[in-house]
């Protein structure tokens, strides 16, 4: 069980926050920057925020860029799809990289390697080059996976939903903030004396520099695990360097990862789609001016300040009382309600009501993102990175799918597209009912049997040869700490077979 007062103090003294047996923090103190836990939190959300700002830096400046580069509406639509499609496979690759090399190196490297795409946006001179820079800049959205992986490595089961939700939400905030930041930067540069067609190019240096600096921050100030970096721990033998094919096999054979990937496409994917189309929707349907449309678009993304973290906290709160089943039920309810409000958004015809519905819709859809990553850390311990990456990649697949089906060409008007997207959200979210953990149960069924334990589930990822060499020890500790996912039934926990009784019960 978890360490609390009077527990083993010898390693407690080394950390500023209270920790469990894996040295993961059991508390989430937002305004602390204590290393390694809270420092990792702040470094990861800031760099993810920077990547989001870069990826969505073009949309608010499109009225200028489309004239400079002679873009058509088709070019703009294709570039928007390219921006979110790059990250589909990058997120899966990032998950693998986190499992093998650690989140610090993986995220700092990707952020630095995609910064050139942002710098080169300044020298784009045609629709093709514009599409390419948006495509490669979009790869940086894979830092989402390293953020979630890092939080799952630094924070215990009790607070992992909150940590993942706040880090993810504050990072996603970049998509809203950029709609305000980029026009401001552009105006400033334009007033200093640059022509419009030069000012927007100079403006792109700001997100690029921000992105580079955040990468250096992670590299120099962060560490992978509470006990140190992967390379150091690999050398000292405290952490064994895992086998990629085994990690990959256990990720792809776990059906829960695939279901969560699909359902994440209908909360986060929908959020990305809305980021791309909502300003134009309000501009065209309600005839507001461009500045107003931009502010409305920004407010959708800015709701991430509290809505996604709120989803994560709600997940942890429900887990305290109802365990994993509570997390699953809450996720299904919140995401379905998001679908309902999406249907409504396409139906309302007045500006004020439409903005109100959009804001409510944003809260539910972003909370569903936070709730999803309250469940993901428990799907697998060994292959956490790839599962996180697949789920994250599924989000981007959802964004590509919804834009291609509903918001491209003139088959559907935007309002019809929104309504149909809402229907699709509700249908795909039904898959959550199929998720079942043998040790905790699912939405409709309890645990498989009274004697199935967390150890049984997580140890099934290791074969006996690996267990003999002791590679499974981290998973073992995780199993013990995840017993809180039983909810109020913790007191009646069965003793695991072939192990000494847990002394902390």
């Amino acid at each position: 069980m978890e360490i609390s007062q009077g527990g083993d103090d010898s390693y407690q003294k080394k950390f500023a926050l209270p920790v469990d047996s894996e040295h993961k923090s059991t508390e989430f103190r937002l305004f602390s920057v204590a290393a390694p836990h809270m420092r990792a939190f702040h470094l990861s959300w800031i760099s993810f925020f920077a990547c989001f700002v870069s990826t969505f830096a073009a949309p608010p400046l499109l009225p200028i860029i489309r004239d400079n580069l002679d873009l058509t509406a088709t070019d703009i639509g294709n570039a928007g799809i390219a921006a979110v499609s790059g990250a589909v496979f990058a997120r899966i690759a990032m998950g693998t990289a986190c499992d093998l090399f650690g989140p610090r190196l993986a995220s700092a490297s990707l952020t630095l390697l995609t910064a050139p795409a942002v710098y080169c946006t300044s020298i784009a001179n045609s629709p093709v080059s514009f599409l390419l820079v948006r495509f490669f800049t979009g790869f940086s959205l894979a830092t989402f996976v390293s953020t979630q992986f890092w939080m799952s490595s630094m924070f215990s089961a009790r607070v992992v939903g909150t940590a993942n939700g706040v880090a993810g939400g504050w990072g996603n905030l970049g998509g809203g903030a950029t709609q305000l930041i980029m026009p401001l930067v552009f105006d400033l540069i334009h007033h200093i004396g640059a022509t419009k067609f030069t000012a927007w190019r100079i403006a792109f240096f700001i997100p690029a520099l921000f992105q580079s600096l955040s990468a250096y921050g992670i590299f120099f100030l962060g560490q992978d695990l509470p006990d140190g970096n992967y390379s150091k721990l690999h050398k000292s033998g405290d952490k064994h360097k895992d086998n990629f094919s085994q990690v990959f096999y256990h990720a792809v054979t776990n059906y829960r990862g695939w279901i969560l990937a699909l359902t994440y496409g209908y909360c986060f994917g929908v959020e990305l789609t809305i980021d791309n189309i909502i300003a134009q929707y309000f501009y065209d349907r309600f005839n507001v001016n461009l500045h107003t449309a931009g502010i409305i678009a920004a407010s959708f993304g800015l709701a991430n300040l509290f809505s996604r973290p709120g989803g994560g906290m709600l997940s942890d709160l429900m887990a305290k009382k109802l365990g994993m089943r509570g997390r699953l039920w809450t996720l299904w309810i919140v995401q379905t309600l998001g679908g309902v409000f999406c249907i409504l958004l396409g139906k309302v015809g007045s500006l004020g009501v439409s903005i109100a519905v959009m804001l409510i819709f944003s809260v539910f859809v972003q909370a569903a993102c936070g709730l999803t990553f309250g469940v993901v850390p428990f799907v697998s311990r060994r292959s956490l990175g790839i599962i996180s990456g697949t789920t994250g990649g599924g989000g981007n697949v959802g964004a590509v799918l919804t834009q291609v089906i509903f918001f491209r060409g003139s088959r559907y008007s935007t309002e019809t597209g929104l309504t149909l997207m809402g229907v699709m959200i509700i249908c795909c979210t039904l898959l959550i009912t199929l998720i079942h953990f043998p040790q905790w149960g699912g939405m409709f069924c309890g645990p498989s049997s009274k004697t199935t334990t967390e150890e049984d589930y997580y140890m099934s990822e290791w074969n006996s040869a690996e267990k003999e060499q002791g590679f499974h020890k981290a998973s073992l500790k995780f199993s013990e700490n995840s017993r809180s996912e039983r909810g109020k039934r913790i007191g009646s926990a069965p003793t695991p077979n072939n192990r000494t009784p847990d002394t902390h019960v």
Partner: protein, 233 residues
């Protein structure tokens, strides 16, 4: 400054009723009744087409280069000289309501394709055809001319020039344009500035190279066992 090697463009004005062509349902502003307006409209359109035919076939007041290729102007460098006058075939006094002339650069249909932000809409308040102002001047019935350097924020596209006459309430009451009603003749192109500068190109490349080099440098540094201390309070 490079002068365009063409004769000045000439624009004529129409009677007020021409606004019905531009804007669906907008009221006539000179008080004529509906029925007589329709008849006069038909006459005016016919008269305009005839006038255009005469103008272009007579060989004066249009650029020789229009007959073969579409002329191309460079934004920020080349100039357009616009000359306009009231078409003398219309009755005297028709221009009593005209107070201001606004001359604008307008997108030709080929540059409006797949670009909803340049769409032509009958309701002038929502019309996005003419987005670049050349000049706004008080109205006078003759000797109107203006030389305009194509501004640096004009995008690459195919254009024509249109002039609107506004009354004292700033409503459009008449117009004239350098092309026909299908907007297919007498068009010209503008080549925009790229907005790129050598210094920007160099900066982009240098910063990009530095990012990539520092990334691989960091990985190598990691291999040598450097890193921050494990436990920091």
């Amino acid at each position: 400054m490079i002068e365009m090697d063409c004769q000045p463009l000439e624009i004529a004005f129409f009677l007020p009723h021409c606004l019905e062509v531009l804007e669906f349902g907008k009221q006539c502003t000179d008080g004529f009744s509906w029925v007589s307006s329709c008849f006069v409209l038909a006459f005016v359109l016919g008269g305009y087409l005839l006038w255009c035919y005469l103008l272009f076939s007579s060989g004066h007041s249009y650029c020789h280069c229009f007959t073969s290729t579409t002329p191309s102007l460079k934004a920020g460098e080349d100039k357009i000289t616009v000359t306009w006058a009231l078409n003398t075939s219309f009755p005297a006094g028709i221009d009593s309501a005209y107070k201001t002339i606004k001359v604008k650069l307008c997108y030709a249909p080929i540059s409006q394709q797949d670009r909803a932000w340049r769409k032509t809409v009958d309701n002038l308040k929502k019309d996005k055809t003419c987005q670049h102002k050349i000049v706004a001047k008080p109205y006078s019935s003759s000797n109107n001319t203006f030389t305009w350097t194509v501004q640096r924020d004009v995008p690459t596209a195919t254009y024509f020039v249109r002039a609107y006459a506004h009354n004292s309430a700033d409503e459009e009451v008449a117009y004239g344009q350098t092309t026909d009603s299908h907007k297919s003749t007498n068009l010209f192109e503008v080549q925009a500035i790229s907005g790129r500068h050598m210094s920007l190109d160099v900066a982009s490349v240098c910063f990009s190279a530095f990012s990539i080099v520092s990334c691989s440098g960091s990985s190598t540094w990691k291999e040598k066992g450097q890193g921050i201390p494990n436990k920091v309070m």
